[in-house]
Symmetry: C2
Subunit: 385 residues, 2 copies
């Protein structure tokens, strides 16, 4: 097992009617920036419940943070937050709103010229506005971690950054909020949480027994509970299980002491940046390719996965690995997510553009062994057309 | 699933040579109370390493905190801490030293007459000295939770208390420290972590899919890794896996949203208070009795346990449950922990005394359904002679 530090001070309030029950959380703040997305919280009633909760608090609103939150939009919120001297951000939404709010939180206090440098130039920052979240969509785990992914439209870049300063002070997870989500967002959430787990699990073995067992256990929960949510959208327990699983998939616990891959995410980000495909859909396209092309290096963990997640007989190792990858792709399809570039009208000729974008990056060598170069990415994507 | 709040801000530093690497953690404190046990840290060199680490820090020492840390001893540390106006406690040891240090931390700032009232009368407290830990013995999970169990010799009481104020600021987990432990402490640690998991798992089902899967996964890790540590006491990965598993067994995660039992602990505490048997040994005696007497109420979860932990065919439910309980007891025996009252020279006549002590308690009705009364305790212990 590798050495690690684990630190996650997010206070998670989980369950029925939690929004109404956790009013104390906002007591100590004076001026709150309320952030949200494109307006679904106004249609489903969550917005008015939040406004009621805030009572006579001094609040400033910033709506309109879309999927793949954009630097250009977020900078307007930064300006607003600076002008209004907000001392807390309450993010109400899914991973995009929360990620965007993390950027706003760091950028308001950022001393350099352009907050984008925190992402593009890894510029360090030592302060951020505190934030809390009301999660409306389980998927990214952003409600219980320190990271965020932001897109810059002008340069078609999609970059990640993070800091313990960006851990939410609290996150309210109320599974009932999932009832009114479109099916596609549930499907995306299942795949997103699934691939988050895989990125921390299917690498090379370091004998992290708890981590391997927890990763396999979480994948089985997603395989079992995800379809239940899609079958009965108001099954409280199934929704709660999916929500908690998605949070657990990326709260730092699975990655303790083990190597991490993240090549599927990095390649997927380029597809989203160039072609606007949903994040989770890009993961469903890329992952089977990564697992296939890298199967020799990942063999031991792929066998663990085949046996412990899919209950596959591993006496023929090669066949077991192939079958596990097939089952992975079938699972994505079964929850309504297509897995081929052509399913999203991306032509084979796009592969060159994706590789070119990656070549411009500092982290052009991806994967747990840092050996997935643009040539390998090409190989990965060629079997995903 | 039940509603819950999860909050665990402990910063865990885990791995090789972590003690030497984490010197920054003590920077902001002025006067440190260094607490430890009966002197094993002086024999195995950890004491001198800690003293080196502390450098020119202003420290006050308090050694001699034994197993089942005693109020009478701890109150001397409280007096010392008050006199010396310490602003931090560094606990170096296992669960007993850490539990004792939590009591000291709360008692130093306690405003009432007798700090024992925090335990005996559930008297609330709103401040505590901050503490950090260097864990030398994995078992209790105290290094990453808010609870402690303290014994009062004069009244033969063993009581629990807790508060988020008592969460360690940091905990240093260095698996190499386990190499010099006596075998019996490893064996006790395995059983303690095992029963902690069971207390949060084998109750009644509430469809907490992640929690059930994680509990089963953790038990399998203990079954697999525990014997490995005993076979080769300097197998780093096996030690690390046992240490991390024991911490994960009681850091609040498994109990999120599910009922909890704890009757085995409550009955076991009385056996320790009256007869001085090691904590883990009392758990190994009591647990098979609780599972047997309560098997109808616990049937669904016992079947989950039989199937997912022991891979038992559950077509004959009664037989599967019996077999799972047998395998539990055999596992305890296999790691060197005896499981009968007579193994510890406790006569059958003692059962009356144990039940009498429990009758004096406010929590005389134990278990997840609060229906284990002294009559049932008698029944449980009668099959454990």
């Amino acid at each position: 097992m590798k050495d690690f530090t684990f630190y996650n001070p997010v206070r998670v309030h989980f369950g029925k009617e939690q929004l109404a029950k956790q009013t104390d959380e906002l007591k100590i703040y004076d001026k709150i920036l309320l952030t949200y997305g494109k307006g679904s919280i106004k249609r489903n009633g969550i917005y008015s419940r939040v406004i009621d909760l805030l009572g006579d608090k001094n609040i400033v609103e910033f709506g309109g943070i879309g999927a793949n939150p954009e630097y250009e939009t977020l900078m307007r919120a930064v300006e607003l937050g600076r002008e209004e001297k907000v001392d807390f951000i309450l993010a109400v939404g899914g991973g995009s709103v929360i990620d965007g709010s993390k950027f706003i939180a760091a950028a308001i206090n950022y001393k350099g010229d352009d907050p984008w440098d925190m992402l593009a130039k890894y510029d360090k920052f030592d302060s951020a506005i505190k934030l809390g979240t009301v999660l409306t969509l389980p998927a990214t785990g952003s409600e219980m971690n320190s990271g965020a992914v932001i897109t810059r439209k002008s340069s078609k870049e999609k970059l990640a950054f993070g800091s313990p300063l960006l851990m939410p002070v609290f996150s309210i997870l109320q599974p009932e909020f999932m009832y009114s989500l479109p099916d596609i967002q549930i499907s995306n959430g299942i795949v997103d949480a699934f691939v988050h787990t895989i990125e921390q699990y299917i690498t090379y073995p370091v004998n992290g027994a708890v981590q391997d067992a927890y990763s396999a256990a979480l994948l089985k929960v997603l395989i079992e509970q995800g379809p239940k949510v899609l079958e009965n959208r108001s099954d409280y327990d199934a929704n709660a299980n999916l929500m908690w699983a998605a949070t657990m998939a990326l709260n730092g616990l699975l990655r303790t002491g083990v190597p991490e891959d993240w090549s599927t995410h990095m390649i997927g980000h380029e597809i989203t940046a160039l072609y606007g495909v949903d994040h989770a859909q890009t993961l469903a396209i890329v992952l089977p390719g990564v697992l296939t092309v890298m199967k020799d290096e990942k063999a031991e963990k792929l066998l663990h996965y085949a046996q412990n997640v899919w209950n596959i007989d591993t006496s023929d190792a090669n066949r077991a690995i192939e079958l596990a990858i097939e089952k992975t792709e079938s699972f994505f399809n079964s929850v309504g997510i297509k897995t081929r570039l052509s399913d999203y009208d991306i032509p084979e000729s796009a592969i060159g553009d994706i590789c070119k974008k990656l070549e411009q990056k500092k982290y052009v060598k991806l994967g747990e062994n840092r050996n997935i170069n643009p040539e390998k990415v090409e190989k990965i994507l060629k079997i995903r057309v």
